[in-house]
Symmetry: C2
């Protein structure tokens, strides 16, 4: 937690918040902070600044706020991700959020196990929790939008053409002979398949609406490794 | 497991292995394979090829081997990593191994908790297990060398100058104004600090022997995210 994320509910009056729970624990155990200390804070979907501790008890901490910065620039990317297995989903959401992705679609694919769609981790409050961990890591406040699309074909045919309009549409495909472009100045729509990759039918459907298959090299990588690797290569 | 890794101990005669345990389970439950199926195999620190199943029982699987490929090219990098917390160490070793890192030093730093050095995950057999998971993922066979250096100053002063000789020596430092170079054609020595970063004294010590501090941007990232991001940017 490099930043304490605040929401409107935390305010007791203008420029003053009172925190309990996980954030209090962090202030006491990690910062080992005391009254007068200044900590990095950010308002959810708002500015960044400092919070000065005015009271600290075992039950709550009160901070007097001063906001003076805007959140960091987002990555110009829309991520289309075949739903990963739940324990990997958590790490991929955190990593994507920390790197500045602001829009993601979690989609179905032939190699996504049906049971993954029933995971309790897909509830909005759990997803927001993982995204917030990424924001706290990266000192960002702008919560990414994560959309779930459990049907591949209607998503690709009916919704995706509008999503990729005016963007460079790429699909990660380890056997492609096109290397992933570097340092692109464009807005990118980046599709990443499940473990084992998209099946040929899915690659064809994506290619048919304008996706270019690109590769990072001959090594198949895990989704949690390939997401930061591709984002870092592209931007 | 995109590749079944074999060691000399698995051989019953020339070009024939018998497997039990985790690899048998994988053949039966993930591949759902039967006699006659051909699976990707690799000999530890040796060539890749195919194994044809000749017998399959609940107790063991026998494969007839044919090797015909060399392992993928390694990344020209030496990774110097402040020892991460144990659960992160596992993922970082897997990711580094899957991306083709062949030499790593796990080093101490002011912000590395002392208890991390006592973790049972630092035993050679556990480290080799995590490295092998990365090799199986990336269809590689060449086991990386992982060296542990629990004293920062003697390592940097006495050993590191020889390590970085004829390489581009970079240290990841979020506040540096130099962006991380892209697509370098050089052999790189890449140092990555702990959560919270190297302290100024450590950056100075590294800079004094020739390390250039470089940054991936203003977002502090977790070690497990920054390792694939930096490797992908560099190569």
């Amino acid at each position: 937690m490099n930043l304490i994320l605040l929401s409107e509910n935390d305010f007791t009056r203008e420029n003053c918040v009172q925190l309990q729970g996980r954030r209090l624990k962090h202030v006491m155990e990690i910062h080992r902070a005391s009254v007068g200390d200044r900590l990095s804070v950010g308002l959810l979907n708002g500015p960044l600044g400092k919070g000065t501790i005015t009271t600290l008890t075992p039950d709550s901490v009160t901070l007097e706020l001063h906001f003076d910065q805007q959140p960091p620039v987002p990555l110009p990317v829309t991520l289309i991700l075949a739903l990963p297995r739940p324990k990997m989903l958590k790490r991929v959401l955190m990593a994507s959020s920390s790197m500045g992705v602001k829009r993601m679609f979690l989609i179905n694919s032939f190699r996504v196990e049906k049971s993954f769609w029933k995971s309790p981790l897909l509830r909005k409050e759990r997803i927001d929790e993982f995204l917030s961990l990424g924001l706290e890591q990266a000192k960002d406040t702008v919560v990414p939008e994560v959309l779930q699309r459990p049907l591949f074909k209607p998503f690709v045919e009916d919704e995706l053409p509008a999503v990729i309009k005016d963007t460079l549409a790429l699909v990660a495909h380890p056997t492609s002979l096109h290397p992933c472009p570097r340092d692109t100045k464009k807005h990118v729509t980046l599709a990443i398949g499940p473990e084992g990759g998209f099946i040929p039918y899915e690659i064809e459907k994506l290619a048919a609406i304008g996706f270019m298959p690109v590769s990072l090299g001959q090594r198949p990588l895990r989704v949690e490794t390939v997401v930061p690797a591709l984002l870092s290569k592209l931007f």
